[in-house]
């Protein structure tokens, strides 16, 4: 039986939730504020920053100096490409682990997850040399492959969790009706798991969009995504806070909007299986 929530308690909970939310969102909010200031005003005290003139100057400078749309299209292609390729590989993998597990399934799942604990810089040189030999350096295809590989454990794990919620009897019934393995996965399993697959896609697009180690180290002028766009405005010798903030806002805006509209699916995806 659900506990009754008093209005007072509801108000406290709401206030607390908003406070925590604002605290988490504050760095992004402050970046947005600084992006509308001049470099001179951006380094002043918070009160002076808020009361100084608001201007689009930094956005105009960034737009004039950098090819935003080239970086943006690279980010879209790399994030979407790596996620979809990962889904293509992960769906059959998660199916076999969820519905025909072997005694090693648990171990394989844990091993896959453990690869995420390896510091990326430890394999930078082997991958860099491999990319040179294969002609993949500074190509979108190269980044799609690498980002797919580094996110694959998460994709498999998420899909495995969703598939485990689907009764195996339904697939068995399909098999008895004469469905082949391909038809079983494509026409029975996938439609039932669409909410889970959508959540997985959303989360992995965000992860791939924000990835900043491989995207900086394996690109130069052609395939550089928005992470490289932001990095070009950071400097230890010279004040570029306003321009850096403007570049950051331009880089995170698309994913922020995507996250806003799909927050229900995201929350569902992240909490799936948490309560039974």
């Amino acid at each position: 039986m659900a506990r009754a929530v008093t209005p007072r308690r509801k108000m406290i909970n709401t206030t607390l939730a908003w406070s925590v939310g604002l605290l988490i969102f504050f760095p992004i909010l402050w970046i947005i504020v600084l992006s509308f200031k001049t470099e001179g005003d951006a380094i002043k005290t918070p009160i002076e920053v808020l009361t100084s003139v608001w201007t689009f100057e930094s956005y105009l400078v960034v737009q004039d100096r950098s090819d935003y749309f080239k970086h943006f299209s690279n980010s879209v292609i790399i994030a979407m490409g790596s996620t979809l390729l990962g889904i293509l590989i992960a769906v059959p993998a998660a199916w076999s682990m969820a519905f025909v597990p072997s005694k090693r399934t648990r171990g394989i799942l844990m091993w896959m997850l453990s690869t995420k604990m390896l510091p990326a810089v430890g394999v930078l040189y082997p991958i860099y040399i491999g990319f040179i030999k294969l002609g993949l350096l500074d190509t979108r295809l190269g980044l799609i492959i690498v980002l797919m590989l580094i996110n694959l454990p998460i994709i498999v794990w998420m899909l495995y969790t969703y598939f485990r919620e689907i009764p195996g009897e339904i697939l068995e019934a399909a098999r008895m009706d004469g469905a082949t393995l391909r038809e079983e996965v494509l026409y029975v399993l996938t439609p039932m798991a669409i909410p889970g697959i959508a959540s997985t896609i959303l989360l992995n697009v965000i992860l791939a969009w924000n990835e900043a180690f491989w995207t900086l180290n394996l690109t130069a002028a052609k395939a550089a995504p928005l992470t490289a766009f932001i990095a070009s405005y950071s400097s230890p010798e010279g004040l570029f806070y306003a321009k850096l903030s403007a570049a950051s806002v331009m880089a995170i805006a698309p994913i922020l909007i995507l996250g806003w509209f799909s927050q229900k699916q995201l929350v569902r995806g992240l909490t799936f299986g948490a309560v039974k």
Binding site: G40, L124, L216, N217, A231, S234, G238
Partner: protein
């Protein structure tokens, strides 16, 4: 806009005239700072003159260093030209990773490059990178606060004067700190400053047998002097302050003195960004009466990685970007105060440039820095704020982390020096120096 359109038209005509058969597309890796961004804006001039086009990869200094190091050590070929510093150039040149710049044209006039710069960017007398701009370090101070304190800054002050002036100028009630200095961890941040300062106290990183020297009185004197002065007169939290944090404080009028890179002079005297632009004076970095000043020497330079397929076009770009013609181009578009400083002798003989308030002090600072004799006692390494050996960046980053922990009060100066001594000797032994 008119200039840009004219340059584009000239580019198109030039391409038609030359048939564009030999036109190359150069990929250049560079750092994000005012001079480099200015160069990117003027690239149309290079294209108009040669037909070659340019793509820029601009990265933050530390990211760039890692990125180009990965590429050059694996012969990746991602870049045709790299922006590197005085630390990397002699090491990479010795390893055969860079194209020697020993056949530049007569019009380029290699002899016009400041000897301190060409010396620091060479290995065995061969130039491997052309300086785009050079810098030393010097004192920037508030003339009004100095006057109010009843003191007069000498052209070449001592550390004891700086400490005295800092204490006299400090006014905590009005948020004025007598002196702002780098304390941030990192070999190129606080590590660079304290190393240059230690030279003037008679300290050195290694003796002639590559033994660490942090257990000497000279290092103890350096660090204790620094911590005492900053505790009395520095800003709160100075252990995390680097160039940008101190620039921000100085521009807001919260520092009496700031000892840092000479390129900062154009920022603090720019009335658009600095609230104290009209009351800034300059002086040489301090000494301690031992014959060595505490200023450093650095250059951002353009180099060609060995194995590039576009060596000829890359050399054409380097000649264009580091020429006297480029300096005149910047002066015509942005004014003489914004030309890249510290690279060419002729710039400092130019009557127009002599009017720039910080020009002479910048030159004097650069000329007083000698990377080959940076310490009072003899040392086995070249470099002032660094030792030009491959292991230095890693070791110095760790050492500066220990020093920053001491600045923050997390450990004593003695503890920091003992840890620095142990980790440096361990690393040098592992690398085979000892």
């Amino acid at each position: 806009m008119k200039l840009a359109n004219a340059l584009r038209a000239a580019t198109a005509m030039s391409l038609l005239a030359t048939g564009a058969v030999h036109a190359e597309n150069l990929v250049i890796a560079t750092v994000n700072n005012g001079d480099m961004i200015r160069m990117q804006g003027l690239t149309d001039d290079f294209t108009a003159k040669t037909g070659h086009t340019v793509e820029w990869v601009t990265l933050e200094e530390n990211v760039l260093r890692q990125r180009v190091t990965t590429d050059i050590t694996t012969k990746g070929g991602a870049f045709d030209i790299m922006t590197i510093g005085m630390y990397e150039t002699p090491i990479w040149g010795a390893n055969g990773w860079l194209v020697a710049l020993d056949d530049l044209s007569a019009e380029y006039d290699v002899g016009d490059i400041l000897p301190a710069m060409s010396g620091g960017l060479s290995h065995d007398g061969t130039l491997y990178a052309a300086p785009f701009y050079g810098e030393s370090s010097m004192i920037m101070y508030r003339t009004d606060l100095m006057e109010a304190a009843g003191l007069e800054m000498p052209d070449a002050p001592s550390w004891s004067f700086i400490a005295k002036a800092a204490r006299a100028m400090t006014d905590r009630d009005n948020e004025i700190n007598g002196v702002c200095l780098r304390g941030k961890a990192g070999w190129g941040e606080g590590g660079a400053f304290i190393t240059a300062m230690s030279n003037s106290f008679g300290a050195r990183w290694f003796d002639e047998d590559w033994n660490a020297q942090f257990d000497t009185r000279e290092w103890s004197d350096t660090l204790n002097f620094f911590v005492n002065m900053m505790t009395d007169s520095g800003p709160a939290g100075y252990a995390t302050n680097g160039f940008n944090e101190n620039l921000s404080l100085f521009q807001q009028g919260k520092c009496g003195m700031w000892i840092d890179a000479t390129v900062a002079a154009s920022f603090v005297t720019n009335p658009n960004d600095s609230t104290v632009a009209d009351s800034v004076g300059f002086a040489l970095a301090p000494d301690n009466g031992m014959g060595v000043r505490s200023n450093w020497l650095w250059a951002w330079a353009l180099a060609i990685p060995a194995g590039t397929q576009k060596e000829a076009a890359a050399k054409e770009f380097i000649e264009w970007a580091t020429s006297t013609g480029y300096i005149e181009l910047v002066a015509a578009n942005e004014g003489w105060a914004n030309v890249p400083p510290g690279a060419r002798v002729s710039l400092y003989e130019n009557a127009n440039y002599k009017d720039v308030p910080f020009a002479q002090m910048t030159l004097d600072s650069i000329l007083s820095a000698d990377p080959n004799n940076s310490t009072v006692d003899p040392s086995p390494y070249v470099g002032i704020q660094f030792a030009a050996i491959p292991e230095f960046a890693g070791i110095a980053t760790e050492v500066s982390q220990e020093f920053s922990a001491a600045y923050a009060g997390q450990q004593s100066v003695e503890e920091a020096l003992a840890k620095a001594q142990a980790l440096t000797n361990d690393a040098m032994e592992a690398a085979g120096y000892r």
